[in-house]
């Protein structure tokens, strides 16, 4: 297969488009760099001058609050100038092509694009097109990848659980449509997790998912048995009724994470969710707010991880 276009000829990160194909050392470098930024976020003056004078454009072709905001905060804490563009509601509807949009913004002096787009491969497409000095971060493309989410998830796991090579981890829910799941699977496989499972009904699993290095389960009791980490996925509203699933209620009954179902996991297992949560659909409130949940720390770490990625792409290091 063609080489991963996000690495340059020396194996350095040129863009962050997917976790697939990243060397384990590079992931650890990103996580170590992120550790140094966690401290910055706890200071009174939460700012470092690493990206001063750089222009970062948040290009969102799909609505998002959380991801866009954390990228914005991360960029501002690195002292970059940030421009937010909600393209779904402006030029694309006027008939401007994606490339024209990107060219115009590049002409305004962009140094980095943070891109979210509903089509898989959109970030790769933009990265192939832009001038060599411009960096692209994929903030979610269709069902394909959401690499900073995958990185913040493994950052969280490393913080709470330590050595990846001894862990059992289950990812639960709508794997088929989930870019988060794909990025998590790649990251955890690269970091050497020996027991990685996906738990979902057949309608929410992509064909040949085993080839990504996971074991498939269709029921929670077996899928969560003795795991160290439970990673829940969001179920989109439009998928709750129709040919994929009969109802949200039936889904919750079989795949919603309740305290009872969580008992199958190890007593000290942590529970993660990329947000935003559908309480009562994929996760019960008592679990979401319970002592095993690390869902809010994920959000906090997300800022440090995104700072690390931006800083490394811009040629800098940690704080």
């Amino acid at each position: 297969m063609a080489p991963n276009p996000q690495l340059d000829e020396n194996g350095r990160l040129r863009h962050l488009l997917t976790i697939e194909g990243l060397p384990a050392e590079l992931i650890h470098t990103i996580l170590d760099t992120a550790e140094s930024f966690v401290g910055v976020n706890e200071r009174e003056v939460k700012k470092v001058p690493l990206l001063r004078g750089k222009a970062i454009f948040n290009l969102f072709f799909e609505p998002s609050t959380r991801t866009r905001t954390t990228f914005e905060i991360a960029a501002k804490r690195l002292s970059a100038d940030v421009v937010n563009l909600n393209i779904g509601t402006s030029s694309q509807t006027k008939g401007e092509t994606l490339l024209d949009t990107v060219d115009n913004l590049a002409a305004m002096g962009a140094d980095m694009f943070v891109v979210r787009h509903p089509e898989s491969g959109a970030a790769h497409f933009i990265a192939r097109h832009v001038a060599p000095h411009i960096r692209v971060i994929n903030a979610g493309d269709g069902r394909h990848a959401h690499p900073t989410q995958g990185l913040l998830d493994v950052f969280t796991i490393r913080r709470y659980k330590g050595d990846f090579r001894e862990l059992s981890i289950a990812i639960v829910g709508d794997i088929l449509h989930s870019r988060v799941a794909r990025s998590e699977i790649h990251a955890l496989r690269i970091l050497g997790v020996p027991d990685l499972r996906v738990v979902a009904p057949r309608t929410l699993l992509p064909k040949g998912v085993e080839e990504l290095g996971v074991t498939v389960f269709h029921d929670m009791a077996r899928g969560l048995k003795n795991v160290d980490v439970v990673m829940m996925l969001r179920l989109q509203n439009e998928r709750m009724r129709g040919p994929l699933l009969p109802s949200a209620g039936e889904y919750f009954k079989h795949y919603g994470l309740t305290p009872e179902k969580l008992k199958a996991a190890k007593p000290d297992a942590i529970v993660m969710h990329p947000g935003p949560m559908n309480r009562g659909v994929e996760i019960d409130s008592s679990v979401a707010d319970g002592r095993q949940a690390v869902i809010l720390p994920q959000v906090t770490f997300g800022i440090a991880v995104r700072m690390a990625v931006m800083s490394l792409l811009a040629g800098g290091g940690g704080a």
């Binding site: 063609a2 991963n4 276009p5 959109a122 394909h144 064909k207 040949g208 080839e211």
Partner: protein, 427 residues
């Protein structure tokens, strides 16, 4: 114009002839093979030692984009591409704008093609009016206007009663129907084969059963009606197996595969290469192997280019938004030769899949080199190569997954009706 082609290795798949012989052409026809007719004086002698002379290629699927899509390609650009590719007869699907569902459109297309005089254009008529899948097109009238067969192209035909009636009606007049088997519901929104590649890249998938479910329906209706059906661009291993059984049972079906599905699979998509955005989608490795085996054993009758020129803007998009299709007329011969090499097949057998057999499916008297036949001839250098670049392609469509590759064989000259429609100088 009298032409003497001297010293070529003449390959005529229709008769099985394969040997060095001179060809003599007069008044648009082959008048001598081996020995000159008495009193023959050539106006032009073509020195062809080392070259192969085979029948001009017959392509079962080439979109010419007229009328309606002239920004993608024109009749002139695409027929020049045909000539440069050694293709002298081609069938064009009816999915133009407007669709080819009226005799006037067929007559106009044939008139324009005749005046360009570069290749023989055989239009496929629309099976239903406006390709809407509801009312039958005037098939018998369209046949008189020059349609060789009737097709829905890529337009869905969801109503099986309409399909049944179309087959019954076509069978009444012994008109062939060409169908690309695909269940529109199972293929809905899909852009790639349902396999590990689509799962990894997060591309919306088209399962193999989208082909086999439709194929099953078609084959059962053929059994019920006796209609002659040609199956276009098979893509799955299971599809090949179903056609093998249907033919074993004596059903009147034929089928083809495209150069893309014969040589490529979903892995070639790499990191979202829109050149590989094709209809049907590139399938898995095992599917490709089954298609190659099916073509070799004859379950699949013919190889076609599925020539579909697409403008650059329509490919400069994320994979799922890009328009499907690839240019192919100029790659048909080189990719036939590559397949022959890979399959260890004698040239005469490989070339049958792009000459005599598709001509038989079309019901045209071409695709053969015999005294008395029209002088449609492709002269190619089997030791030469074709490098695929945007500059080297005459087609207005520059999009092909084979861009940048060097393929075996090079067309040196193409004759249609006894006149030279393409001629290449040096290497």
């Amino acid at each position: 114009m009298k032409i003497h082609i001297k010293g070529a290795r003449v390959i005529d798949p229709a008769s099985g002839f394969d040997g060095v012989a001179d060809l003599f052409i007069a008044a648009g026809h082959i008048v001598g093979l081996g020995a000159a007719p008495e009193g023959f004086h050539a106006n032009r002698v073509i020195e062809a030692t080392g070259l192969v002379a085979c029948p001009g290629l017959v392509d079962l699927s080439a979109r010419l984009r007229e009328p309606g899509f002239e920004y993608k390609a024109t009749l002139e650009s695409e027929l020049q591409a045909a000539a440069a590719g050694g293709v002298t007869s081609l069938a064009c699907p009816p999915d133009t704008d407007p669709p080819l569902d009226e005799p006037g459109l067929i007559e106009m297309l044939r008139y324009r093609a005749r005046s360009l005089n570069l290749a023989r254009v055989h239009p496929l008529g629309a099976l239903t009016q406006k390709l809407a899948g509801e009312r039958l097109a005037e098939m018998a009238v369209l046949r008189e206007a020059g349609c060789v067969a009737f097709s829905q192209a890529e337009a869905p035909l969801t109503d099986t009663q309409v399909l049944l009636r179309a087959m019954e009606y076509a069978a009444t007049f012994d008109l062939p129907i060409w169908l690309r088997p695909q269940d529109p519901h199972l293929a809905r929104d899909g852009v790639a084969h349902d396999g590990a590649v689509a799962s990894r890249l997060g591309l919306r998938a088209i399962p193999a059963c989208a082909e086999t479910v439709a194929l099953s329906t078609i084959l059962l209706l053929v059994r019920a009606t006796g209609a002659r059906v040609h199956l276009c661009r098979l893509s799955t291993r299971q599809g090949v197996e179903m056609v093998r059984r249907a033919r074993h049972d004596g059903l009147p079906v034929t089928c083809d595969v495209s150069i893309h599905h014969l040589h490529l699979c979903d892995e070639d998509i790499g990191w979202f290469d829109t050149h590989c955005r094709l209809t049907p989608p590139l399938r898995g490795r095992e599917d490709r192997a089954a298609l190659a085996a099916g073509l070799k054993e004859g379950t699949i009758d013919a190889l076609c280019s599925d020539h579909t020129p697409v403008d650059d803007d329509a490919k400069q998009l994320p994979f799922g938004e890009a328009e499907p299709g690839a240019t192919g007329l100029e790659l048909l011969l080189p990719l036939t030769l590559r397949w022959a090499q890979e399959a260890g097949l004698p040239l005469v057998e490989a070339l049958a899949r792009v000459t005599s057999i598709p001509a038989r499916i079309l019901g045209i008297p071409h695709g053969r080199l015999a005294v008395g036949a029209a002088a449609d001839i492709c002269l190619f250098d089997p030791e030469g190569t074709t490098r695929v670049t945007p500059q080297s392609l005459r087609s207005q469509g520059k999009n092909t997954p084979f861009l940048g590759q060097t393929l075996p064989g090079r067309v040196r000259m193409t004759l249609m009706d006894g006149h030279v429609v393409f001629e290449q100088g040096g290497p």
